[in-house]
Symmetry: C2
Subunit: 241 residues, 2 copies
DNA sequence: GAGCCACATTGATCTGGGTCAATGAATCCG
DNA sequence: CGGATTCATTGACCCAGATCAATGTGGCTC
C-alpha cells in the first residue's frame, strides 16, 4: 500500500554525519539531544528523499516508522471512500510525524516540494526515548502545540465563514513564514485545491475569496504561489471574525 | 476571569486518600504511578467539585493548573468575539486537561454534569514528571490519541454532511460508552446546542437530523438525553460517508 | 397541580458556498 | 515555438443547511 522508495535512497544511514550536518536540527525535536549522544540517535536514522507529489505515509498502513522532515514541505490528509479529502496540516522542515499510538497511521502524507526525511523505527525510537527524557519532553511539547493548533482549526472548520477561513489561513501562514523572508510576503507551495481541502472549502471558493480580498486592497497576488499582505491588521481582524 | 470556586471545596488535599480511593484512577494517566509512589503525586493534588454549568477553565487565563477529571463530564470549547462557539471535545472521568504549552489556556471548560477535579500545579507537576517517566509516557500516549481524534474531527467538520456528522457522533458516543452500559444505548448528558456546536451545525439541524434518523428506523429516542441504536451497522456506514 | 421556563422539535423561507461550465494563464515537452 | 495538459479564475445557477418563527414538552417552583 505504501508508496515508499525502495530501496531507501543512499545517504549515510549508519554514520553520525546526517545528524551533525542536518540543517533541520535546530528546528527539530532532535536538538534535545546533545552532540555527544547524537550518535545513538544517528545510528537509528535512515535518510531518504521523496519527490514532490509522492505519498510517503499511507493512512491505514502499519505505523512502524517515525519521521522527521528535514527539508521540503508536505501535506497530511485523510480521505473518505468517495474521495472527499481533508488536509489536516501542512508540515515543513523540523516537523516530526508518526507519533500516532495505534498500530496504523491515521493519516496520509504527501510531499508538496521535494522532501528529505529522517526515518526511525518506532519501536527502537520509543525504547531510546527512555534514555533521553529531554527528547521525550520535547515530543510532549510538540504534541501539545499541535493539539492547540488542531483546536484552532476545528473552530475555523466548524464556525468560520469562507472569508474568515481564507484570512485565517493567510494570517497563520504569514506568521509561520521562515524568518529570512520579507515581511508580509507569503509563499504558498501548495495548490488551490490543497488550500481548499485544508479549509473545508472548494477550489472555486478559495479562488473567488482571494480575488475578493485582492479587490479590497487587503492583499496582492503577484503569482499563484505568492501573496503579499498589504494590510496585516485588517487581515488579522477578519481572521478573528 | 476564571470562575473557580473559592475556596476550593474541602476534600483532603494533602493526604494519600484521594488517590488510593479515586475511582477514576484506572482510567487516568495516574495509574502509571504505582501505589508506593502515589504519595508524591497525592501531595500535589487538590480535589475540588464543580457544579453543572460552571466554567472551570477560561480561555486566555494563565495556564497554571493541570487537571484530572475524576467524576462527571465537561465540554471544552473556544469562543469567537461575536459568540460563535466551537466545542472541541467532551471529556469524562479519567481525562486530563491543561497540557497546553503556552502561558494561557487555549480553550474553556465547563461542567455538563457535576464534576470532580484533581488539580495540580503545572510547574510542580512538570518537575515531578522527571521522576516518573512512565507518567510522562502516558501523557504522550494520551496526547497522541487526542491528536488522532482531532484529525478525525477535522475531517468531520471540513467534509462531512450534517447527516454524516450526526451519525459519526452517535457512532463515536456508542463506542465510548461506559462498559457497564447496555449495548447500543447512548446517554447524552449534553444539550442539543452543545452537540450542534461540537458538530459545526445549528440546533435545528441536529434536531431535524435525529428525527429523520429515527423516522428511518436507525435509532430510537426514548428521551432527549438518550438514544438507542437500532442498526449499528447502517449507522457506521452512514458515519463513514 | 397550575404556571413558568428552558429546551427540543417542526415548519417556512433564505442564502453562502457548492456545483457545473467556460475561459484564462502557466508550465511542460517534442 | 506551438500544442497539450494542468491549474487558476470567473460566471450562472442551485441546494444543504442556516435563519426566522411557532409550537411542543418536561422539569421546576410555589
Amino acid at each position: 500500500m505504501a508508496v515508499f522508495p525502495r530501496p531507501p535512497l543512499p545517504g549515510s544511514p549508519r554514520s553520525l554525519e546526517p545528524c551533525l550536518s542536518c540543517d533541520a536540527r535546530a528546528d527539530s525535536v532532535c536538538n534535545a539531544v546533545d552532540d555527544e549522544h547524537l550518535a545513538r540517535l544517528a545510528e537509528l536514522a535512515v535518510v531518504s528523499d521523496v519527490q514532490a507529489g509522492q505519498t510517503f505515509i499511507e493512512e491505514g498502513d502499519p505505523a512502524d516508522s517515525f519521521f522527521n522532515l528535514t527539508a521540503g514541505s508536505a501535506k497530511l490528509y485523510k480521505l473518505m471512500a468517495d474521495g472527499r479529502r481533508q488536509i489536516t496540516g501542512f508540515v515543513a522542515k523540523g516537523h516530526f510525524l508518526g507519533l500516532a499510538v495505534s498500530a496504523t497511521y491515521a493519516f496520509s502524507a504527501e510531499a508538496i516540494e521535494p522532501v528529505r526525511l529522517c526515518r526511525f523505527s518506532r519501536s527502537r525510537m520509543f525504547r531510546l526515548l527512555g534514555d533521553f527524557p529531554a527528547l521525550e519532553r520535547r515530543l510532549l511539547e510538540r504534541a501539545a502545540t499541535e493539539l492547540v493548533a488542531a483546536q484552532e482549526q476545528m473552530l475555523l472548520l466548524g464556525r468560520k465563514t469562507a472569508r474568515e477561513r481564507v484570512a485565517s489561513f493567510l494570517h497563520t501562514q504569514s506568521l509561520a513564514a521562515p524568518c529570512g523572508r520579507a515581511r508580509n510576503s507569503i509563499e504558498l507551495p501548495m495548490s488551490r485545491g490543497d488550500i481548499a481541502d485544508y479549509l473545508g472549502l472548494t477550489v472555486e471558493t478559495v479562488s473567488r475569496t482571494l480575488s475578493r480580498l485582492r479587490g479590497e486592497g487587503l492583499i496582492e497576488i503577484p503569482s499563484a504561489t505568492m501573496v503579499l499582505v498589504r494590510d496585516p491588521g485588517r487581515l488579522a481582524v477578519l481572521a478573528a471574525g
